[in-house]
Amino acid sequence: MSKPPSSSNTPSRSRDEVTDAHFMETRAKLLDLAAFLDRLERAVGADDHRVRGLRAALPILLEKDPARVAKILNLWSDPTTAPIEKSDTKAASGVWPKIK
């Protein structure tokens, strides 16, 4: 079965309208990201896989590809395909631990 089409009544909005609606929350999130990176710089030790994944995702934000979210999620995903024998944890960390 093929993918159904997207909603036919998706409203058309201008860039100004989108900016008016979402700029302030996005501005705040970007400042939080910058503050997090500053906080890391003030701390001792090396980046772990989560921070490496976060830094690797940053250039994607500046790409023109409209599928940035999917691209970042794919970057952070386990790329293997076979089930593993056993896991030593129940938790996920947010970024595949073996990310380069």
């Binding site: 079965m1 093929s2 993918k3 159904p4 089409p5 997207s6 909603s7 009544n9 998706t10 409203p11 909005r13 609606a21 979402h22 599928a67 979210v69 999917a70 999620l73 794919n74 952070w76 995903s77 386990d78 790329p79 293997t80 395909t81 089930p83 593993i84 024998e85 056993k86 896991s87 944890t89 129940k90 938790a91 996920a92 960390s93 947010g94 970024v95 595949w96 631990p97």
Partner: protein, 269 residues
């Protein structure tokens, strides 16, 4: 506004949440069996949990005028112990007779282990044998894409699963189209951090599909918001979506999927 909360772990929530959901326009709540935050040590613990889901929780919800429905399983986080998992699964057929049980769920994978996959396949077979719908939990974060593919492969491999009676829940931007392409329904879970925000969910509705999709809060004992579905509806309204489109997404879609069970009857229907 009216909406259905198709995935909420209400045993973890207070009665204040029931009241807030009712005030926000909730017309029904569906509660899949899940992990309690710790591993239960015996099948007896699950027997009591299934009694809670089929007897106690519906009575609690009814105090706020909310019909309560349930899905049963042993969740993937407790499926590593296959002996326990099989004991718990042996309890399920008797509980399927309860008037509020809609199917098997939320089954799936957590860390994508071989034992999790075997128990997932056993649950799928149980559902097919008993002509039950299936609610699938896809793994968290970095494990989601791989787990979603393993799950879809396993569903296909069974051979007797009807995709239209299965919802693949917790989809995100990188897994949603894959679920829909295979004919399954897709659930978008609205979490403050670890899944989709209301804004991202509406983006997905606009760019991937608004059909065969439901929104849910999956509110539980962790960081979650039982009012996230109406908040997504507000986001749609803010973007100029029509009242009919909003109603279709947050009420009509879950009603269509869930009504495949003859037990899913709402008082006003």
């Amino acid at each position: 506004m009216r909406y259905i909360e198709p995935h909420g772990h209400m045993v973890s929530r207070t009665t204040d949440d029931y009241q807030a959901m009712a005030l926000a326009g909730c017309k029904a709540i569906c509660e899949p069996a899940f992990w309690a935050g710790f591993d239960r040590k015996s099948a007896d613990g699950f027997h009591d949990y299934f009694c809670q889901l089929t007897q106690h929780e519906p009575r609690r919800a009814l105090k706020y005028g909310l019909p309560h429905f349930a899905w049963l399983c042993i969740n993937p986080k407790e499926s590593e112990d296959m002996g326990l998992a099989k004991e718990v699964m042996a309890l399920i057929p008797e509980f399927l007779k309860a008037p509020n049980v809609l199917g098997i769920g939320e089954i799936g994978l957590n860390k994508n282990t071989r034992n999790e996959l075997k128990i997932f396949e056993a649950h799928v077979d149980l559902a097919v044998q008993h002509n039950q719908m299936i609610l699938v939990h896809t793994p968290h974060l970095e494990d989601k894409r791989k787990g979603t593919r393993l799950i879809i492969d396993a569903l296909k491999a069974h051979g007797k699963v009807q995709p239209g009676r299965v919802i693949i829940d917790h989809v995100e931007e990188h897994t949603m189209a894959e679920a829909l392409d295979q004919g399954y329904w897709a659930g978008i879970t609205l979490y403050p951090e670890s899944k989709a925000s209301p804004q991202r969910a509406v983006d997905m509705i606009e760019t991937i599909s608004a059909q065969r999709v439901w929104l849910n809060s999956a509110c539980d004992w962790g960081h979650s918001d039982p009012l996230s579905v109406p908040k997504a509806a507000i986001e749609m309204r803010r973007r100029g979506h029509s009242s009919a489109a909003i109603d279709r997404l947050v009420y009509g879609n879950p009603l269509e999927f869930l009504s495949q069970s003859p037990k899913f009857i709402l008082p006003e229907a």
